[in-house]
Amino acid sequence: MKILVCVKQVPDMESRFKPDGSGTWFEETDLAFRMNEYDEYAVEQAVQLKEQLGNEPEVTVLSIGPDRVNEAIKKALAMGCDKGAHIQDPAPQGKDPWQIASIIAQYARTEGFDLVFTGMQSQDRGSAQVGVLVAELLGFACATTLVGFAFADGVVTAKRELEGGIKGVAKLRLPAVVTCQLGLNIPRYPTLPNIMKAKKKEILAIPVADLLKEEAVAATARFYPPARKGGGIVLEGDVGNLVEQLYGILKEKTTVLR
């Protein structure tokens, strides 16, 4: 069995974001990048499946972006993936989800994967489209937002998260794509020996132009901070003063302090 895991590198979401020169995306200077959180669940699930099947499946981790995305690939290798595919693209943010999905599908088609794991969405763009589009382009079965995954006899049993705590259960025949949600598993920390081992694993570099055949179908016109809804008070300073101020506000504006 051949497994593909797609990961994206995103900025730390605690960061302060400001528009870049183009006005359509964020300025990268001073931002720290890490693996997209949802993709960590995808990597973990792929590695768990490999272990379940006696380490037979080969797990490839793919990421699209500039050189820095090698860090995310290396982390996935240290978590247990076998090899990396770095699709070299200095400006992936200029491509829409349709193009990103077509790049992945083009790569997957030539490699003949049976199962593709990815996060349910990215933390930065958050379109929740790429995984499903990859499945559609490849003609694979697909289930999104997995909080439960089981594999037996060539069939994936997927537990999908619906609203209000309800789960939807579906069975998928391979080949398939699944997108992973928070709560699916607890991603492992790469151990030092595994980090050392990962350094010897192959990372294939492929120029994005070799795989991109599609035109964009959507464009970002602007990137900007949300309008504050107004009226909210912001309190800053010494903790003692903050407590007094908040206590006063609660007394004045609410009925909960009697």
């Binding site: 979401m13 974001f17 964020f26 989800p97 349709w98 930065d124 958050g126 379109s127 929740a128 499903v132 589009l133 559609e136 694979f140 079965a141 697909c142 289930a143 999104t144 937002t145 999908r160 998260e161 619906l162 609203e163 209000g164 705590g165 309800i166 789960k167 939807g168 259960v169 579906a170 069975k171 998928l172 928070l182 964009a216 179908v217 959507a218 464009a219 970002t220 016109a221 900007y224 901070p225 949300p226 504050r228 809804k229 909210g232 008070i233 912001v234 309190l235 800053e236 903790v239 903050l242 407590v243 007094e244 908040l246 206590y247 609660l250 504006k253 609410t254 009925t255 909960v256 302090l257």
Partner: protein, 304 residues
């Protein structure tokens, strides 16, 4: 412009969020038609055409079959845009329809602005204006962003959809009910919720102590529940409970959209967060910029 609105139906009932699609269509000034995979007994009240396929025949959710039904309605209506709620149903089905039509999709629309549809990004800290550049467009709208006011009324003109059966690699097995709730947060007058910013499980009693001092209940955001710090029955948000207390205190909660959706009906919101730019600040009446573990015990002591 003609909009085809995709209704939601689960366990025999039409979901109320369906009406938000009508509000969105009005906002963009589109002519409306709807498609429902459901039943005659759960038709939306409206004056539009509703393309109806029987859920009894096609299943409440099979993505490949539902895609074919929606595409059939798109063709019959010659719709310019196809609109879904950004729910577990919409975000699963919309990209499949978009791929089939080679249409640009804009996900989780929160507003309509100069330059396109407004969507959240970077964990809701920022916004993008996005425009589809294809002939047709697929749109998903954030639940609650376009409120339907008034009472739904009207009688739809029903057009039936019957498509050939086909093999599908996905089989819908069924639903699993939500875990039983030990705590009914929906009745609480005060809720003090713990988020990831609380740091570790050992710190939860500090938040619980504030809840007690205010005579309220402990709530939690999703990552805290997933980490096993707090039981799921305390979770506030789209996958937990929707609450409307007199006072909601968010401790170390950044304010993911799913959490905000579950607590935005609170009368008064206090957020305690080190990050002044955290999206929770957008809905907070008071944002206290401080370390939760320093501020909360001090506030509890004052209250006692």
């Amino acid at each position: 412009m003609k909009a085809l609105l995709v209704c939601e139906y689960r366990e025999g009932k039409l979901l109320d969020t369906t009406y938000e699609l009508l509000a969105f269509a009005d906002r963009i000034g589109a002519e409306k038609a709807m498609v429902l995979i459901g039943s005659d007994s759960a038709l939306p009240a409206c004056n539009s055409t509703v393309y109806l396929a029987e859920a009894a025949k096609y299943g409440e959710y099979n993505p490949d079959v539902h895609k074919k039904i929606v595409l059939d309605a798109v063709q019959r209506e010659n719709a310019d845009c196809i609109v879904f709620v950004h729910s577990s149903y919409g975000w699963d089905l919309a990209p499949r329809v978009a791929a089939a039509l080679r249409a640009g999709q804009v996900s989780e629309i929160v507003g309509v602005v100069d330059g396109g549809y407004e969507v959240g990004c970077c964990n809701a800290k920022m916004r993008r204006a996005v425009t589809p550049t294809s002939g047709k467009a697929v749109l998903t709208v954030q639940a609650g962003a376009f409120s339907f006011t008034g009472t739904p009324q009207g009688t739809p003109k029903v057009e039936r959809i019957d498509i050939p059966d086909g093999a599908t690699p996905v089989e819908f097995v069924g639903y699993e009910p939500a875990e039983k709730k030990d705590v009914d947060l929906t009745r609480a007058e005060v809720i003090v919720s713990a988020g990831r910013g609380v740091g570790k499980k050992d710190n939860i009693p500090v938040i619980q102590a504030l809840a007690k001092a205010l005579g309220g209940e402990l709530g939690a955001s999703r990552p805290v529940v997933d980490a096993g710090w707090v039981d799921h029955s305390h979770q506030v948000g789209t996958t937990g409970q929707s609450v409307s207390p007199k006072l909601y205190v968010a401790c170390g909660i950044s304010g993911a959209i799913q959490h905000l959706a579950g607590m935005k009906k609170s009368d008064f919101v206090v957020a305690i967060n080190k990050d002044k730019d955290a999206p929770i600040g957008e809905v907070a009446d008071v944002l206290v910029v401080a370390d939760v573990m320093q501020f909360v015990p001090a506030l509890t002591a004052k209250l006692q």
